[in-house]
């Protein structure tokens, strides 16, 4: 789960990380009022779950309150990577002497969270890693012991030559690590961590990504979810315990299992089509889940054909068949549907489908080819 910059900053500020003051605004007038309260130059920052906000024009400096109103007016409602900006953070502008990068990422290879720091901050860290890897220091942390003081100091000295700044930044790293663990993060970063002309070390931006598997035991973190910042289909899917990701194609896919769902999308592409979505109905799929899945798929106007691909192991294919029948009785389909199912209770499923006027195949390639042909009007496959 992604959370906004202002939410990550609130978490880190509470842990003691020095962060310039700021408030959230949803209207241009509110942005004006926040800037007036701060009483000096501010930065107006779009709060969306997308990287590259600055490049997209979603981050602007304003010298005073009336300029803050103008900038907020331009940013609110703008689209960044397909997401509409609903909120801006209005925050005190800082003078910057130098910028660094500090991040913790869950590293699969070492099976540990790894600290990554670089004195070349403020820009894309992946670019730094690719072009000048010597400017990055990585320190894995054994979570059974936590970040040790010597590790934090080593990271601090890699960023700053002098003891005072190394110490200040080491303290911030301890606080960031605490935030990472307490909120159940898979990523936490401060980019940039800056030094002001007065020599203070301050966090100007913050990003946290929460491990979805943590949300059940961390209700306070789960409450940070902002559904207005997510694609509507994905919100519906989560409520129905489905995994859904919208894509740009026109073949709506409904599959059980993530690996098979990806392989099905790939096969659609192989036969010259384009998948409209990734949708995994999961292991033990009830008819209700199938109904919800069809609702989500058919609400996408791009979808020209629907493809079901079900390999019944734990999933009972008769449950899926019943779901398809029930869903299409409620809302008759306006686009053709191709059904492939095999496995647990296949005979019962086939009978249910044929009694209700559906045909189904047990061959994956054949089904995908037909769905692509229907979606493209016979132009592909």
């Amino acid at each position: 789960m992604n959370i906004h910059e202002f939410q990550a900053k609130e978490i880190l500020r509470a842990l003691g990380v020095p962060i310039p003051t700021g408030e959230i605004a949803t209207t241009a007038d509110a942005a004006h009022d926040v800037a007036a309260r701060i009483g000096k130059a501010v930065v107006v920052k779009a709060q969306v779950h997308a990287g590259g906000r600055g490049k997209a024009g979603g981050v602007k400096l304003a010298r005073d309150a009336s300029e803050a109103r103008e900038k907020a007016k331009a940013i609110l409602g703008m689209q960044i990577k397909g997401l509409t900006v609903e909120k801006v953070l209005v925050t005190e502008a800082a003078d910057i002497a130098s910028e660094a990068y500090v991040g913790i990422i869950m590293d699969r290879a070492s099976r540990k969270p790894v600290f990554m720091v670089s004195p070349a901050g403020g820009i894309d860290i992946e670019e730094v890693a690719a072009k000048t890897p010597e400017k990055i220091l990585k320190v894995p942390v054994d979570t059974r012991y936590g970040l040790q003081p010597y590790q934090a100091m080593r990271l601090g000295f890699f960023l700053y030559g002098d003891l005072a700044k190394a110490r200040s930044s080491a303290k911030i790293m301890q606080q960031l690590y605490t935030g990472f663990v307490q909120s159940g993060c898979s990523l936490a970063e401060i980019n940039p961590l800056v030094v002001t002309p007065a020599g203070e070390v301050v966090a100007l931006d913050a990003k946290m990504v929460i491990d979805d598997n943590e949300l059940d035991r961390r209700p306070a973190v789960a409450a940070l979810r902002d559904e207005s910042a997510e694609a509507p289909g994905e919100v519906l899917a989560r409520q129905a315990s489905l995994t859904f990701i919208k894509l740009d194609g026109n073949v709506g896919c409904c599959v059980n299992g993530a690996g098979l769902a990806m392989a099905t999308m790939d096969l659609v592409k192989y036969y010259g089509g384009d998948p409209a979505n990734f949708l995994d109905i999961g292991g033990s799929s009830s008819p209700e889940k199938v109904i919800a899945a069809l609702k989500i798929i058919t609400s996408d106007p791009n979808v020209k054909a629907i493809l079901f691909n079900i390999f019944g192991g734990i999933t009972r294919t008769d449950d899926v068949a019943n779901g398809i029948v029930a869903a299409t009785k409620q809302n008759p389909l306006k686009v053709p549907i191709v059904i492939r199912l095999t496995g647990t209770n296949e005979e019962i499923a086939m009978k249910i489908l044929s009694e209700n006027g559906f045909s189904a195949s047990s061959d994956m390639d054949e089904a995908v080819r037909r769905a692509v042909a229907l979606a493209t009007g016979g132009k592909a496959a």
Binding site: G51, M106, R108, A109, R111, K112, P113, E126, D142, T143, R144, V181, G184, S186, D211, D212, N213, E214, D216, R217, T243, I245, L247, V255, N256, G257, A258, G259, L260, A261, M262, A263, M265, D266, L267, V268, K269, Y270, P275, F278, D280, G283, F311, G313, I314, T315, T342, G343, T344, M364, D365
Partner: protein, 289 residues
């Protein structure tokens, strides 16, 4: 022969009285797996299905039955603890089926297991099955048949799809292993490839990877440097957009790393035959037996 499990596998089921645990325990017993014990705290003394004694702790179960393998069906928030309990009781193979285990929990459980010399498979995996010998987990029994193909995969239903197509084509399997779709798992591709290379009955290995991480690239290097047996590979997620988790917690392209294209290239460079569609496994395996 087989890898990791065989006729001598003596299984303890953690979470045996739960909904999933009880259902799949019956399936494993029907398959012929030696299920010697179950564990559910507070239900020690009960007998499952008239045959299997239930214990309060794994240590009790191991002491009483000599169980050497454990399978875990407990809820996600308790799964890491169950893994550590099994390792501490001296169980040498631990198979965690549970999906949704917090990754931070795994950063503690994994070194704990490692230090005690046990092997962990999963979490978030379908387990493993050796036709005619033993089944530990949830892979449907009816899709497998004995034969010379070893199979290792990061997914569940996609594994079933490929195994089923192999079986229909008369290509049986030594062992099918699902290593799971989480970012941190106990056993990786290389562990399984090494075991298949050492297994005298395995003649061809199928490896089903997906986007995210570098496990497949590392495995490709291993195949090139260490393996004599032919390997056929597949990568799911060619059409996956970057930065999105494709169902599996570990299936995510981070920035420009972990793409299907880079994994397919690594496979080809290592001399691994790449199936573009699941159905192509059949011919590619046949050509190499």
């Amino acid at each position: 022969m087989s890898i990791f499990i065989n006729r001598n596998t003596k299984l303890v089921v953690q979470g045996i009285t739960g909904r999933d645990g009880s259902f799949h325990t019956k399936q494993m017993m029907d398959f012929g797996t030696q299920v010697v014990a179950g564990v559910t705290p507070g239900k020690g003394g009960q007998i499952f299905e008239g045959k299997v004694p239930v214990f309060n702790t794994v240590a009790d179960a191991v002491a009483a039955t000599g169980a050497n393998t454990s399978v875990i069906y407990v809820p996600p928030m308790f799964a890491a603890d169950a893994i550590m309990e099994a390792a501490d009781a001296g169980v040498s193979l631990i198979v965690a089926i549970t999906e949704g285990v917090p990754v931070l929990d795994m950063t503690r459980a994994w070194p704990f297991v490692k230090e005690r010399g046990s092997r962990l498979i999963g979490p978030n995996c379908p387990g493993l099955i050796s036709a005619g010998q033993s089944k530990v987990g949830i892979i449907p029994a009816r899709i497998v048949t004995p034969g010379p193909v070893g199979l290792v995969s990061r997914s569940g239903t996609l594994t079933y799809e490929v195994v089923y197509q192999l079986t229909c084509a008369g290509l049986g399997q030594t062992t099918c292993v699902g290593i799971g779709g989480d970012p941190i798992n106990g056993t990786n591709f290389i562990d399984c490839l090494a075991a298949f290379e050492a297994d005298p009955d395995t003649r061809v290995v199928c490896m089903l990877g997906e986007i995210g991480g570098t496990d497949e690239q590392d495995a490709a290097r291993y195949v090139k440097e260490k393996m004599k047996k032919p390997v056929v590979g597949f990568i799911a997620g060619q059409t996956a957009p970057p930065g999105r988790r494709m169902g599996h917690a570990g299936a995510i392209i981070s920035g420009s790393s972990g793409t299907a294209a880079e994994k397919v290239t690594a496979f080809r460079e290592a001399g691994i035959a790449v199936a573009q569609r699941p159905v192509e496994f059949v011919d590619l395996v046949k050509e190499r037996i």
